[in-house]
């Protein structure tokens, strides 16, 4: 099987769909001729033509607003927002328009579109290139919210998202574009070629939206993570020696509560990890659901390890980023409680 980085896997997903379905369109800022600032769409315009893959003005509301109109008229737009930090001008179109169009029209108009955006920190991007805004989308009925942590999932989920009849917010952990990242403060990571999940089948396949992945079986405690934090959790498990079960949620909305429940009922303990600010982050939702579903199995309080409730800093990035040390500490605490 070919090895791909996450960038290549995402590009391949779009390539497959562009070739397969003339209704699929790809556009965004710098997405066309140049192929995107992260090169996710490199070569796609040359291959599929400017009518299918094109550059847009710097107006995220226009990008998504056009996509809503196109999607309602039968297209399958897959648009890029250059950084998740710049999605806010499009927040109205995504949450008030795309999300509710099917419902408000009694299913006569629908909105099958994908909004891709690089998310998360770890690249010294400061407060406007590091944000993790997933909770701002999981609160919105009508949206789906997914976030892959491997090239394999990235391609399979993106194809599934493009084929989905409803709008999907597709978060790409940019720190994982070129390789898994375990939270090493040197910032270094090995490439995907060295990782089994870097093996990506050619052609068409999908990964179901709404299904979590048990990344590591374990019996002491359940770790709920997604995106970059899946690897940080792996590092923390190694560091702490605690036999944790790591669940990569992959899809935040809808959530695979069954898989989570089965795990926490088994372990009786649960640590939630995300990079976004803590207050009202998606971790709150996870804890609320888990305690309700598994209350009588719980042996200790559910823990959250998250970004601090402050803007994402530049120089002190590693003090903000919830790294393996903090996760390991939470694991120990939950075992002691």
């Amino acid at each position: 099987m070919p090895k791909m980085t996450m960038i290549e896997a995402l590009r391949d997903a779009m390539d497959v769909k562009l070739a397969q379905d003339p209704k699929v369109l790809v556009f965004g800022e710098d997405v066309g001729y140049f192929g995107g600032v992260f090169r996710c769409t490199a070569g796609l315009q040359a291959k599929h033509g400017e009518e299918r893959v094109f550059d847009t003005p710097i107006n995220e509301s226009a990008i998504v607003g056009m996509a809503v109109g196109m999607a309602a008229q039968g297209m399958r737009p897959c648009v890029e927002v250059q950084f998740a930090d710049y999605v806010y001008p499009a927040y109205d179109q995504i949450t008030q328009e795309a999300a509710r169009l099917r419902h408000r029209s009694n299913e006569v108009f629908t909105c099958p579109l994908v909004v891709r955006m690089p998310t998360g920190g770890g690249i010294f991007g400061g407060q406007t290139h590091s944000q993790s805004p997933e909770a701002l989308f999981t609160h919105v009925a009508g949206l789906k919210v997914v976030i892959p942590s491997t090239p394999y999932d990235a391609k399979g989920l993106l194809i599934a998202a493009i084929e989905d009849p409803d709008p999907v917010v597709f978060l790409e952990p940019k720190r994982l574009y070129n390789g898994p990242f375990y939270g090493d403060h040197s910032g270094k990571s090995v490439g995907w070629a060295q990782h089994p999940a870097g093996e990506v089948p050619e052609g068409h396949y999908t990964v179901d939206i709404g299904k979590a992945d048990i990344r590591r079986a374990g019996s002491d405690v359940t770790i709920l993570a997604y995106g970059t934090m899946v690897y940080v959790a792996e590092a923390a498990v190694e560091q702490s020696g605690i036999d944790a079960e790591i669940i990569d949620l992959r899809s935040l909305l809808p959530l695979d509560l069954e898989t989570i429940k089965a795990s926490v009922e088994k372990t009786g303990r649960c640590v939630v990890v995300h990079e976004a600010t803590r207050t009202s982050g998606f971790g709150g939702e996870l804890i609320a659901e888990v305690q309700e579903a598994c209350f009588w199995h719980l042996k200790s309080p559910l823990q959250r390890v998250t970004g601090w409730d402050a803007p994402y800093p530049h120089a002190t990035e590693w003090d903000y980023f919830p790294g393996p040390d903090r996760v390991a500490r939470a694991l120990k605490k939950t075992m002691e409680d």
């Binding site: 109109g69 109205d92 099917r102 408000r104 029209s105």
Partner: protein, 411 residues
């Protein structure tokens, strides 16, 4: 002439305690402007953007090049236009009454603006799509949308195609070229551009039309729409209904220093025209021209329809708090129904008697449908739609958490 910087606050011509005053509004004579070529460029559209295309003069004659442009409109079409407007007015009146009687929660009239939607819609083809605001019910009337569906939506009962989900007046009908209305101002405008882009990409020969109020031109998506239309040049008509008011706010607060809304659009490199929106013939003529232009591949065009919001903003509003009570009657462009009627009488197609009779027939018809629809339930006599519609259509397939919630609700 040096002065201290001081902010300006645009003012309406008159407030409640003052006499209506439209003296500062410049109304060019009917027939003054030419019909430009279909491939009109923005740079050549200055006079159209700053002037006003008018066909019917004060005597009820259709005059000038735009009158010639639609000279081939057959008499039935003109009569249909009048009937459309009369129907619209009857529907508005009946539904306003229903709201006053507590039979529905909310309503909103388009009185005084009927010519715009009615005249425009009749120039469209099946498959073309409007992206309307809440004040373009006239598009539905002229699309021959079943009154039962229209009224059903207002009563949120079994006849409502939207099954009670949406606030009254938030219609939606794909078959009748009427995109689902959003309460969020402006958003539909850039969606219209996207839809038109899809049309061009699929080569289906269809066009799209965006609609926006003068107040909502201030919204960001007005800019997003003009900009993207200017860049990609899809077959879209960008309509601006300038009815002088945005709830209590005078249109000057949205115009700022721009000469007209049309001229603002022209700044984006989109050819723009300004039209007497109370003149059914001007509306029909310019709409026909714009539709032809868009369909022929000459790119976007913007049209400012100049009119006056005769009614309150909605049933939640009382305009006497912010403008003279008699301002509507002082409106220099008159009433669209009266003007078309006068013209039709003038050319011998119509008479006072036939008018009275037509009004009665239309009212009768509207009332009959209304009674029937009301028999399916109203706010005072509810037979509500099933609460489980709440969960229907949030997604194509209902996810587990919604299924659990529906069960918790008891369904």
């Amino acid at each position: 002439m040096t002065q201290k910087p001081k902010l300006t606050f645009p003012q309406p011509p008159a407030r409640p305690d003052e006499a209506p005053d439209f003296s500062s509004i410049d109304i060019p004579p009917a027939g003054a402007l030419d019909v430009p070529p279909l491939d009109l460029q923005a740079s050549d559209s200055r006079d159209y953007a700053n002037g006003m295309i008018r066909v019917l003069n004060d005597e009820g004659d259709a005059v000038g090049p735009w009158a010639d442009y639609i000279a081939d409109l057959d008499p039935d079409a003109l009569l249909q236009g009048l009937r459309d407007m009369l129907t619209m007015r009857a529907v508005d009146q009946r539904l306003l009454n229903a709201q006053r009687q507590g039979k529905t929660s909310f309503y909103l009239l388009c009185t005084g603006e009927e010519a715009i939607g009615c005249g425009f819609q009749r120039q469209l083809d099946q498959g073309d799509m409007n992206f309307p605001t809440y004040r373009q019910q006239s598009l539905l009337i002229a699309a021959d949308y079943p009154l039962r569906d229209l009224m059903g939506q207002i009563y949120s009962n079994e006849c409502d195609p939207l099954e009670g989900r949406q606030l009254p007046i938030m219609h939606s009908s794909r078959d009748y070229g009427f995109f689902s209305i959003s309460g969020n101002l402006g958003t539909q405008y850039v969606q219209a551009v996207g839809w038109a882009m899809a049309n061009a990409l699929s080569n289906n020969g269809q066009i799209a039309a965006g609609w926006i109020g003068d107040g909502a031109t201030a919204s960001n998506d007005f800019h997003a729409a003009l900009l993207s239309a200017s860049v990609y040049r899809p077959p879209v008509i960008l309509n601006i209904v300038n009815n002088q008011w945005a709830i209590s706010t005078y249109t000057g607060v949205a115009t700022g220093g721009s000469r007209t809304y049309a001229s603002r659009a022209r700044g984006y490199g989109i050819p723009a025209l300004r039209v007497d929106g109370n003149d059914y013939l001007a509306v029909a003529a310019v709409s026909k021209w714009a539709v032809e232009r868009a369909r022929a591949g000459h790119g976007p065009v913007a049209i400012e329809w100049f009119t006056y919001r005769v009614a309150a903003h909605s049933t939640s509003d009382d305009p006497s708090a912010y403008r003279p009570k008699d301002e509507a009657s002082a409106w220099p462009l008159g009433d669209p129904v009266e003007r078309l009627k006068a013209h039709l009488i003038q050319i011998g197609l119509w008479s006072e008697e036939r008018h009275v009779q037509a009004q009665a027939e239309i009212l009768d018809h509207v009332t009959t449908v209304q009674k029937d629809v009301e028999s399916y339930g109203t706010f005072v006599n509810p037979k509500p739609t099933s609460p489980s519609t709440i969960f229907k259509g949030v997604y194509a397939e209902m996810p587990d958490h919604l299924r659990r919630q529906r069960q918790e609700m008891g369904f």
